[in-house]
Every structure is written in structure tokens, then in C-alpha cells.
């Protein structure tokens, strides 16, 4: 049983195996993380120098990744491939293996900066940063989407139909019909795009998974939901209303405009398809809505106040869905 144990001693031997100059590990801090993964911040001391590092590992040792997510080792490999392509990324220092006795996971360099969405969108210290972010998202996503498959681990290939059917199944299993969701599912099934499958898709590219410094995006995090599919998925998800954190007139992550995004995306060789991005924005709002409903339903069992409160955010996704569907009707 590894989950919950302090990783210190085993982690030291794991890092020494790869870099014999490492002497000690200090200052372990458990960072708040998901239910499936745990994240630790610590410092490695080598040659009298201290290097801040982050450990991310599975909470259930050896458990298969959740449906729709990839293993921690694959996340580390994708992070490395993205870094080589010029995507701002933390340096992956070690990918844990069976000899390490720590379960699946990896160690990366700590990137300083802000990840709290509301601070990035409202704090005065980012006033000159914010106008840069929509274009930076465009340039970064274009590089991600251009990553050759030969440099990637074996990732799930998912079409729009695959994604939509999986979401429908998740919703039906909840056993609680909601008319706005029913309408949104039918709207999406009627508009399934003929998409070019074959690009690396980040899968969770949004404000909250980006480390931001004064000059902009310093690192892209959380490749847990990466897949091979339609690149416009990432743009649609980035535009989902809940990820605008109140800045609803700035569709790209609450940061800025679609035109700023598209100009930078094209400059890096990408092709923007706004209809497909809109399809994925509706899909993303529905995905978030179904997730919140599920968290709310599970709150009685998990006894989590936070989950119960998120359960009361389903209606946010519903108003976003209705506004999108209404606005598409108005189009000529």
C-alpha cells in the first residue's frame, strides 16, 4: 500500500539512480490535488544547490487510468514531446518505473507563476499580461497540434462521434433526465463534424491548467485527457463559458478575442475552423454540465461539500448551452 505514504525515502533513491549527485530531498509539501492523483512539492539538494521539483503520482498504486484519461507515464512523455516542439512546459526530470516502488508517476521541475484563473483575469499585476494571452494560446495550440505522431506515445484516437457517445452514456447512467441536456445532445448529434482525425489534442487546455508569469504563459500543465483527434476540440474547450470565469465577452479563456487567437494560430501554420470550434464549445459546456451533475449526485456518498456545491453549477452550463444554441439559430 503506497497511497498516502510520504514518498520521501523512496523518491530519494529514485532520483539518485538517475542523478548520483542528489544528496537529500527537503521541504515536502502536499499540494491540493485531484482524487486520483497526488502532487508534492519539494527541493532536491545537489552540490549545495537546491532545485524545486514537483512529484505527481497516482493515488491508487497500479490502478488503470480512468476512462478518457492517459497514464502518468504517457503524460510525462507527451510533456517532453511538447517541450521539444516549443510548447512552454515543465522539464520532466524522471518518469517513475517499477524499480522505484512509488507507483506510476513522474517528477518535473517547478515552474514559478500563477495558476488561479481569477487572479490571472483580475489581478493588477497581470494587467499588461492579459492582452497577450489569447494570441499565446493560439501559437501554443498550433505547435501542439503540429506534433508528429511519431514523437508521441500510443494515445487514444477519438472522433467526435466517440466523444459524444461516451458523454451520452455517462449522462444516461445518471438516470436523471434534464431537458436542456437532451436538447444539446440532439443538437450535437445532428451536427457531428467530418473532422480530420490525427492531431495531438491537449484535452484540457484552459485557464487553470496554465502557469502564467508577467510575460505570459510559462507552462502548459495537465495532459491527463490528451487524445488524437480534432484540433478544434482544444479551441472549443478553451471557449467554454465556465472557463471564462466571468469575463464572458472574452471568448478565448476569458483572456481575449477569437481573432487574436486565430491570427497567432495561423501564423504558426494552423487552420481555424470556427464551426467545428463551436461544435466543441457546445460539447464542452455539456461535458462540464454532466460532470457537475455527477459530482452533485455523488456528494451524498463522498460527503464532499465542495462536490455538492459544484453540483449546483449545472445550471451555469445549461444557460451557456441555451445561449449557444439560440445564437446559432440566429445565424443566416
Amino acid at each position: 500500500m503506497i497511497a498516502g505514504d510520504h514518498p520521501g525515502a523512496r523518491l530519494l533513491s529514485a532520483l539518485k539512480r538517475r542523478d548520483p549527485t542528489v544528496e537529500t530531498l527537503e521541504g515536502f509539501q502536499r499540494l491540493t490535488g485531484g482524487a486520483m492523483q497526488e502532487t508534492w512539492r519539494f527541493e532536491a539538494v545537489a552540490d549545495g544547490r537546491r532545485r524545486p521539483l514537483v512529484l505527481r503520482r497516482a493515488q491508487n498504486d497500479g490502478a488503470a487510468p480512468r476512462p478518457g484519461t492517459i497514464s502518468l507515464a504517457d503524460q510525462a512523455h507527451v510533456t517532453r514531446a511538447a517541450a521539444r516542439q516549443g510548447v512552454p512546459s515543465p522539464e520532466v526530470v524522471a518518469v517513475l518505473d517499477d524499480d522505484d516502488g512509488l507507483g506510476p508517476g513522474f517528477v518535473m521541475g517547478l515552474v514559478e507563476g500563477e495558476t488561479v484563473p481569477q487572479k490571472i483575469l483580475r489581478s493588477p499585476e497581470f494587467e499588461t499580461t492579459r492582452p497577450l494571452l489569447a494570441a499565446q494560446c493560439g501559437a501554443i495550440l498550433a505547435r501542439i497540434h503540429a506534433l508528429p505522431a511519431s514523437q508521441l506515445p500510443d494515445l487514444p484516437r477519438l472522433t467526435a462521434a466517440d466523444k459524444l457517445r461516451a458523454l451520452r452514456q455517462q449522462y444516461v447512467q445518471q438516470g436523471r433526465p434534464r431537458p436542456v441536456f437532451e436538447l444539446a445532445f440532439q443538437w450535437l448529434f445532428r451536427r457531428l463534424p467530418q473532422e480530420p482525425v490525427g492531431c495531438l489534442v491537449h484535452g484540457d487546455f484552459r485557464n487553470g491548467n496554465l502557469i502564467v508569469q508577467a510575460d505570459g504563459i510559462a507552462a502548459v500543465l495537465d495532459w491527463e485527457r490528451a487524445f488524437v483527434g480534432d484540433p478544434m476540440y482544444d479551441l472549443g474547450w478553451l471557449c467554454v463559458g465556465s472557463w471564462r470565469f466571468g469575463e464572458i465577452d472574452h471568448p478565448v479563456g476569458g483572456f481575449g478575442s477569437l481573432s487574436a487567437f486565430a491570427e497567432a494560430y495561423r501564423a504558426e501554420g494552423g487552420t481555424v475552423d470556427l464551426d467545428r470550434a463551436r461544435f466543441w464549445e457546445v460539447y464542452g459546456s455539456l461535458d462540464w454540465g454532466v460532470t457537475t451533475a455527477e459530482l452533485g449526485q455523488e456528494a451524498g456518498r463522498t460527503q464532499s461539500l465542495e462536490a455538492a456545491a459544484i453540483g449546483r453549477r449545472t445550471t451555469e452550463a445549461e444557460i451557456d448551452l441555451l445561449r449557444l444554441i439560440r445564437d446559432e439559430r440566429k445565424k443566416p
Binding site: 431537458p179 436538447l183 455538492a308 449546483r312 453549477r313 451555469e316
Partner: protein, 125 residues
């Protein structure tokens, strides 16, 4: 008829509990607990709004559904029939009254759940 608590006194009780969490206890707590106290206070506010607003909202929902579906029934039954008609494609966003009903339904619920959500404020304006 059994005695039900006076809604105004329930509302007062909840308002006092939320204020206690938010104003008396929260400042004395550390970061993580301070965050949880805020979520707890917000949860109490949601229930207080629900007690006040849900009966009217649910009655309006039943009335709109009865008109839309041209039949009588309780809220749960009508809602299941409506969901099924949407799932089968017999009704969609182009059908008369469907989008209006869904907007009204969702706006009524947002007034209870998330009255500060930006898209809700925008639709009210």
C-alpha cells in the same frame, strides 16, 4: 394539517447561520477552512433562495409544460415526457415554445443556484 415552520422564520434561521459562518467564523480560520466556510455559507444561501423561490418556479414550469405538451400531469411526469420528445427529436429548438420554456426554466433555477453567474446577469439585462 401538520404544523409546518413559518417560511419567514426558516429564512431567518438560514440567513443567520450563513452570516455567522461568513462574518463571525470565517475571519478566524486558516486558508483552506476559510474557503470551506465560504462554500458552506453559499450553500446555505442557495437553500434559503430555494425555499423562497422554488414553489413559484415549479408551478410556472408545470404550467408551461402543460401548454407545450398539451396535456396535464405532475411536474416529474411532464418533464419525463418532454425529455423523451427532445431525445427522440419530436421536439427541438425550432419547435414553438421550446427554447422559451428552457430559458425560463434555467433562469428560474439560476436565480436560486448561481444568481451572480455572468451569463445569467446578461440575460436578465
Amino acid at each position: 394539517m401538520s404544523e409546518r415552520p413559518d417560511p419567514s422564520s426558516s429564512a431567518t434561521l438560514l440567513a443567520l447561520a450563513a452570516t455567522c459562518l461568513r462574518e463571525d467564523l470565517r475571519p478566524k480560520l486558516e486558508a483552506r477552512d476559510r474557503f470551506l466556510a465560504l462554500i458552506a455559507a453559499n450553500a446555505i444561501d442557495i437553500v434559503a433562495r430555494e425555499l423562497r423561490l422554488a414553489p413559484g418556479a415549479e408551478q410556472r414550469e408545470v404550467e408551461r409544460l402543460a401548454l407545450l405538451l398539451e396535456r396535464e400531469g405532475d411536474r416529474e411526469t411532464l418533464n419525463l415526457i418532454f425529455c423523451d420528445a427532445l431525445a427522440q427529436g419530436r421536439l427541438d429548438e425550432t419547435s414553438p415554445g421550446v427554447l422559451d420554456h428552457l430559458f425560463a426554466l434555467t433562469m428560474d433555477r439560476l436565480e436560486i443556484d448561481q444568481p451572480r453567474y455572468a451569463a445569467y446577469r446578461r440575460e436578465l439585462a
